[in-house]
Symmetry: D2
C-alpha cells in the first residue's frame, strides 16, 4: 500500500525506453566503430560520453553478422589489458608479492579495457538492453571463434554484478497485466508451448493458476525469467491434466499443493547469470504468505536426458538398462506400442520409474553433479527428488526425450540448506523414501561410474 | 501514459524494504563476523547465501565504532587478493606476457576477495542500502587508518558499476510527493538550509520553483542527489530574492531563465560516484521540453574558496590582490563595514568581481583544474563562467567564504562538448565576454602559477 | 506527473470488485425478493442496508428470465409512488399551487419508491455494475411489457445523474493496457469487427493509431464507450486502407488528419445516456495538444439508412432516386456488377455520392432531425457533412446498408457551437461546399417532406 | 496487486483538476448569472453546455457574499417547479390518481428546475468541487434566509446520489502519502487538534497508529472524512496517553484493541450526507483482515453534551444530579479543584461515570434518540456503550464540555445489526454490563422524560 511514489519512478524509465525507440533516428556515424570505442574510453569527462555511447550502440545495431564478428574480434584484440604495464608490474611484484597496492595496480592493469568500455556503453539510454542483445550476438560467434570466450567472460562478469539478485523485482503476471508483457510470455515460454491468447489466459487468468516473473529496472517492459504454477489438491503425476483446456477449476484456498510446471529464461544474453533458484524460493515464500493452506511445493519436471542415457546404457555390455528391461519391454518402448496397450504400459510402469530414479540420483557428470540438467538445477538448489511418473508426458517431445517420464522435485524450505550442503559435500542426491524404494527394485549392479 | 505496469514493479521493492525493517529481528549470530564472511564466500551455491548475507549485515549493524574499525581491518588484511597465486602467475607471465588467458587469470587472482564478498552481501534484501551505509562508516576511518583506502577503492569500484547512470531514475519532487521523501529533502539540503515544511513548500509548491532528484531502484524511498531550480525572467544576481518568503510568483510560461541555485548530494556512502553532471543536463532537457519559453540555463553558485585565496594572495609579496585593493577597501572587507555603507560597497564592486573572475578562471590546482571546487565541477561539465556578482550572498557563510560573491555558470547544451574538450586540452576556462572584460580591469601581473 | 496517490485510490475499488466476484458465495435468501426490497426501503438506518442490498442483488442474479420479468412487474406495481398521498397533496395544492413547500412534498410523494430502492441497492459493493446489468435485462422486456417503460425511466433518470460527464475518466488504450480491458475492446467493437489479438494490435499498437475510452470509477475494469482513431496525411475515402493488414505506417508527427473511424457504446444498460459527443470532443482536444501538426478532425462513417431510403424513394412515384438513376445503373446496383466493372463503377460515382448527400442533408425524421441515425448523432454534435465517398466500404454490411457509401463528418471546434445552434434553430444540416455542389447535380425535385 | 491500470485512470482526473486551476483565466462573462443559468437549462444539446457551465461556475466564484445571497434567492424564486403545469396535472389527477404515467408527469413537473441546473453545472471540469463549495456558501445563508432551505434540499438530494457509498474509496493515509493530502489532514482535524507535521507523523507514521479516509473520484486531492486509530493492548481510559509525544510504541501484531479516537468530516458542503458509519465499519473489516490479533474495536469518544445536561439537571427541582452529588463534589467540579487533589478526584469517580452513563443511555431527544450527538451517532450505528471514564480528557475543551468524562463505544460486527434493530424498535441504548452496573449506583428517580 501507498507505494505509489516509488512506483511512479519507473515511469521515467519507461519513457526513456520509449523515446529511445522513437529517437534513434540519429545519422549513422562515419567513424569506424573501433575508433568510436577508443574515443569513448579516452573521454576525460562525462560531457560527451553519453552521446558517443549512443552512437556506438546505434552503429552496432546496423552491422551485419559478419561485421559484428569483426567488431567482437576488435574487442578481443584491441581492447584487452595493457601487456607492457602488466609485464612491468609483474617484475616489481617479484620483489614484494604481498604489497596490496601493487596487487591492486596489477589487478587494474590486467582488466581488459573492454570492461570499462562496456560500463561506459551502459551510459546510453537503453544501454543495458542493447548490451544484453550484443552479448546474445556474441554467444552466436563463440563456437566459430573460441577466443571470443574471453570477451564473453567480461560481459558475464559485469552482468553478474548488474543483475545481482538485489536489483531484481518479482511480479505476479495475470490477466490484468499489460498486453505487451503478456505477448512476451507467449514468446518466451520454453517448456510447454503456449498456443495463443486463450491458452495464456488459462495459465494466468484462473483462480488455480499463477505466473511469477523477475524484472530488472533497466530492462524496460521485458522479463528475465518466469515460472508457471498450478495450485492443486494433490501432487500431480502428468502434465496433460495441468494444461487441459477443459478441467475443473478449484478455488485457491482449496489447494494444498503448488506445482511449478514450467520455468523459462527469457534473455539469452544473460546466459550464465542464474535467477531461477531465487525466483522459485521467493515464489514459495509469497505463496505461503498468501495461501496458508498450501503445504507442498513441488515441480512437475521433464527428464530431458533420460532417453539418451537409456540408449547408452543399453549399448553397454552388462548395462543396467539391459539387465532391467525385457525384450518385449524394449520393443514396446521402441515402437511406442505401449501407448495404445494398457497391459504393456502397466508392465513398463513396473520398471521405468525405477530406471528414471536411478538415472537421476546415480548418474553423475564431471564434478559429481547429476547428469540430467534439470536435476542438476533443482538438486543444486537444495530440492529433493520426490516422485517419478510413468506415462506422464505424452507430447512428442516428452516421448522422445524421456519415454513419457516426468518427476517431482520437492522444495521444502526447512530442508533446502541441509540438502544443498549435503549434496555439495558428498554429491549425494536427496530423494524421498518412495524414490529410494524404486531404486531397490533394480537388479544389483556394478558401482555407478561418473562420466570422465 | 500507460506506464503503470512497470511502475507497479517497484511496489515489491518497497515491500522488501519494509519487511526488511520489520523483519530484522533475527537473533544475532554468535559466529564472528569474519568467519561469517568466509562462509559467505566459500558457499558453493546460492542456497544459503542470502541468509548468511543477511546475518552479516545484521551483525554489522550492531557493531560499535571500535568494532567496525576492526571489521574493516579484517577486510583489509584477510580479504585481499591471493598473494601466492599472484606470484605464481606473475612468474608464468614472464614467459608470455601477452597471453590473454594468463592475463585474465592474473586479473582474477589479483581481485581482492572482498569485492566478491561485497557482491554477495548485496544479495540480502536491502543489501545495497546497508552497503552504502557501511562505506559511509568506512570513510570515517580513512584518516585514522590510511591503509583502509584499499578497501574503500573496492567499494567505490563496485558502486560505480551499480550506480551507473543507466540505472538512475530522475523524478520531479513537488508538493504531491510523499512526506517521507520530502522530509529527506529538508534533511539533505546542503547549500541553502531549508528551515521547515513552509520553507520547503515555497521551494517545490509554487509555479516558478522546481526540484528534481535522482533515485536508484535499490535504494528504496531515498534520494541520491537533487537540484533546486528557480524559474525567473532574468539571470539573478543574488540568492536573497530567490529564497525570500514574500516575493512575486510568476507563471512558469512567463519565465525565460532556469536557475540552478542549489545542488545536494544525499548519500555520503556514494562519495566519488558522480551524478550531478548527468542530473543538471537531464533537467535542462526536461525543462526545455516542457517550457519552450526557457532560453537560458544558469546556476547561481557560491565561490567557496575565494576568501581563502584572497588572503593568500594578500600575504604574497607582489600578489595580485594587494595590487588591486586599496587600504580602505581592505579595511572595509575585513570589518564588513561595506554592508552598511553603500559608498564603500559600490567602491568594492569596482574590483571584487574582477578578482573573483580572476580566481575562478586563472587560479588552478594540480592538474590544471580550477582551484575552486564548485568551478571545477561546472567548468568540468562544460559550463561557462557567465557572471560574477558582488553583494550576492549576505549569509554568514556567504560572507565568510566569498565576501558575498556569487557567480552564474551557464549551461548551453550546444557548447558544452566544445567547452569541455577545450578545457581538457588546454586547461582554459570558458568565460563570457563580460567576465573577460572584468579580467582586463585588473592590474598587469606576472604569469599565474599553478599550485604545485 | 506525480498523480500517483490519487491513482492508488482506485486500487481499493478494484479490490472491492474482486472480492465481490470471489465473495458472492453467500447463501441465497429464502425471503422473496419483493419483501427484501421492502426491508431495504424500510430500514431506518444504514446498519443493515449494505447487507440487504447485497442479498437482493445476489438473489436477482440467480433468477430465470421469467422470474426477472415478474420482479420487474413487482417494481412497476408495488414500488411506484404513494397514490393516496399524492391525491391528498393535489387537493391541498388546489388552494395554493405556488407554495414551494407543497410542491416539494408533492414532488417527493410522486417519486416512485423504486428510485430510492435503486439508490440503496447501489450501496452494495459492485452495486452499480449489477444495476447496469439489471437495466439491460429490463430493456429486453420492454417490447413485451410496455408498462415497464415507467420502471426504465427511473433507471435512466438515476443513471444520468450517476454517469454525469463530470464523473467520467478518459483514457488512451494501447498495447500497454491490461489484457482484461483489451479483450473487452475486441468484444464490444460494434462497427468494424476486430478479428483477434493481431487485428487489435494493429489498431492500438502502431504509431498512427489511437483508441480512447471513457471509464467510470464505479464500473471496475469495464468501459463505457470507445473511439478508434487513425492518423493520416489526407482525409480518407474508404475504410479498406485503414484496416488493411499490410500498410505503410507513418509517424504520428507526420499526420495532418485524425480520423474517427469507429465508435462503440459498451454498456447496453446505459442506453440513452450519451457519452459519444463528449468523448469525441475530448479526444480532439487531447490530440491537438499532443500533436500540433494535426489540422483536420473527421470521421469516416457509415450511412446505415441509405439503402433503405433509396429503395423507398425508388418505389415512390416521381421519387428523386428514380429520376436520378438510369436503368443500367439500377441493374448494376442490384446485381453488384459494378464491383468487377470499373466503367460501371465510375458511372455510378457520378450520381451515388450526390444521392447520399441528399439523403443525409435533406431527408428528415420526425422532429426535423436527419433520418440517418449516424448523421443525427454527428450533426447534432455540431459536426459538418464534409465528403461523401463511393466505393468506400466493400464489406457485406457496407454494401447492404449503403451500396458502399461512406462519409466524413468534420469536427471543427470553433464551428461546432454555431453549427449546433443553427441546426437546432432551423434544422439545417451543416455541409461543406463540396457536398453542396453534389446536391446541385441532382434533378430538380418537389420539396422534400419530413416523415410524419 | 496489478490494479495499476485502473489506478492510472485517475491521473486524467487529476490533470483535469490541475488544468482547471491553471486554466480558469477565461474572461468574466457580462451576461447576468441568472440568464446564463437559463441558457444552460434551455440548451437543446450538449454542444455548448460544458462551456456555459464553466462560465457560470467561474462567475459565481467571483461573487461577493451579498451577490451570492442574491444568486441563491434567484435559485429559490426563478428556478423552482412549474406552478401552472403542476396545477393542471393536479386537476387531471383528481380523476385518476393512480395512473402511473400521470404520477410521473407530476413528479417531473414538480421537480425544481434548479435540480437539472445543478446536474448540468456538474458537466464543467471540476464542477463537483465547485458545487460542494457553493452549497457550503448556501449553508451560511440559511439562518438569515430560511426559505433557502428549499434550495438546500435540492443540493442535498443530488449530493446523496452522487456521494452514494458505492462511489466512495477508502484509503489508508500514512507517512508515504503526498504532502498535499497530509496538510489537509492537519487542517481538517476537528476533535483533537494536530499541532504540526511532527504531531501528524506521530499519528500516521508509527507502527501502532493508523488513519483512514474516504475519497470521491470527482473531488480531486481532497478528503471526505477520516478516522484516526490507535492500536493498543487494552481499552484506553484517557486521551492523554494516546496523544503523548513520548510513549512506548508497540508493534501492530502486539495490539489486541483498535481505538477510534477521532473522526472528522472534511467537507462542510456535504453536511447531511453521512459517511462515518460506513467508514468505521470498513476500517474494522480492513483491520481484522490485516491484523487477526485485534479482538476489540472501540472508540474513545467525547461526551459533548454532558456538562450542559448536568447543569440543567442540577437546576431542576429533584433532578438526578442534585440527588447524586454532594455539595463538596459540586464545589470541586465547579472550581476544578479535583484536578490537583487526588482524594477529591477519587471521590468524584464514584459518581460521575454513573451520571455519564445515565446521561448517555437514558436522556433522549425528540424522536427518542440519545440527547448526546456523539452517542446518537454511534448508538445509531449499532455500537454499544462499553465504558465511562472519569479524568479522561483534561484539555480545556474536555473539562468544559464533559468535566473530563470520555467513553468507549464498542463495535462488535456480529451485534451491530441486532443493536441497531433493537434501538430502532424500542429506543433502548445498548450498554455493557459494566455500564448497567454504573446505572444501578444512582439514586432512584422519577421516570426519565424525553425532550418535547
Amino acid at each position: 500500500m501507498n507505494t505509489s511514489f516509488f512506483g511512479e519512478l519507473l515511469n521515467s524509465i519507461t519513457l526513456q525506453g520509449r523515446s529511445l525507440i522513437d529517437g534513434r533516428k540519429g545519422r549513422l556515424s562515419e567513424v569506424p566503430l573501433g575508433s568510436l570505442c577508443d574515443q569513448l574510453l579516452s573521454g576525460r569527462g562525462e560531457a560527451s560520453g553519453v552521446a558517443i555511447a549512443e552512437e556506438v550502440l546505434l552503429n552496432y545495431g546496423k552491422l551485419s553478422r559478419e561485421e559484428r564478428l569483426t567488431f567482437f574480434r576488435t574487442l578481443y584484440q584491441d581492447f584487452g589489458a595493457d601487456t607492457q604495464k602488466i609485464a612491468n608490474l609483474a617484475k616489481e611484484l617479484a620483489e614484494k608479492a604481498d604489497d596490496p597496492v601493487l596487487q591492486r595496480r596489477l589487478h587494474s592493469a590486467s582488466e581488459p579495457r573492454r570492461q570499462e568500455l562496456i560500463r561506459r556503453l551502459n551510459l546510453a539510454p537503453g544501454g543495458t538492453k542493447s548490451l544484453v542483445a550484443m552479448r546474445s550476438d556474441l554467444l552466436d560467434c563463440l563456437a566459430e571463434e573460441p577466443d571470443l570466450k574471453e570477451v564473453d567472460r567480461d560481459f558475464e562478469h559485469l552482468f553478474s554484478s548488474w543483475f545481482n539478485r538485489g536489483f531484481l523485482v518479482m511480479r505476479r503476471i495475470d490477466w490484468q497485466t499489460p498486453a505487451n508483457i503478456l505477448e512476451k510470455i507467449i514468446q518466451y515460454e520454453a517448456v510447454h508451448e503456449i498456443t495463443g491468447w486463450d491458452d495464456l489466459r488459462r495459465r494466468i487468468g484462473l483462480a488455480d493458476r499463477r505466473l511469477y516473473a523477475f524484472f530488472h529496472p533497466a530492462l524496460v517492459d521485458d522479463l528475465l525469467i518466469f515460472v508457471e504454477v498450478a495450485l492443486t489438491r494433490e501432487i500431480p503425476g502428468a502434465i496433460g491434466p495441468i494444461l487441459a483446456e477443459q478441467r475443473a477449476e478449484i478455488r485457491a484456498d482449496e489447494a494444498a499443493t503448488a506445482v511449478f510446471y514450467s520455468i523459462s529464461n527469457c534473455q539469452r544474453g544473460l546466459r550464465g547469470i542464474s535467477f531461477g533458484n531465487f525466483l522459485i524460493k521467493q515464489v514459495v515464500e509469497e505463496l505461503r504468505r498468501e495461501l496458508p493452506n498450501l503445504k507442498t511445493f513441488v515441480t512437475l519436471s521433464p527428464v530431458p536426458g533420460f532417453t539418451k542415457w537409456l540408449s547408452q546404457s543399453l549399448a553397454e555390455d552388462k548395462g543396467l538398462a539391459g539387465a532391467a528391461l525385457s525384450g518385449q519391454q524394449l520393443d514396446a518402448l521402441r515402437d511406442r506400442t505401449w501407448q495404445d496397450n494398457e497391459e504393456l504400459s502397466k508392465d513398463l510402469e513396473t520398471v521405468m520409474p525405477a530406471l528414471g530414479a536411478h538415472y537421476l540420483t546415480q548418474e553423475k557428470s564431471r564434478g559429481a553433479r547429476p547428469l540430467d540438467p534439470v536435476a542438476r538445477f533443482h538438486i543444486g538448489n537444495g530440492a529433493r527428488l520426490e516422485r517419478v511418473h510413468w506415462n506422464a508426458d505424452l507430447s512428442e517431445n516428452g516421448l522422445r526425450q524421456a519415454h513419457s517420464l516426468m518427476v517431482n522435485y520437492l522444495y521444502d524450505l526447512k530442508d533446502i540448506e541441509r540438502n544443498h550442503e549435503n549434496f555439495a559435500a558428498t554429491g549425494s542426491v536427496a530423494a524421498s523414501a518412495q524414490v529410494t524404494r524404486l531404486l531397490r527394485q533394480l537388479p544389483e549392479q556394478k558401482q555407478t561410474k561418473s562420466e570422465a
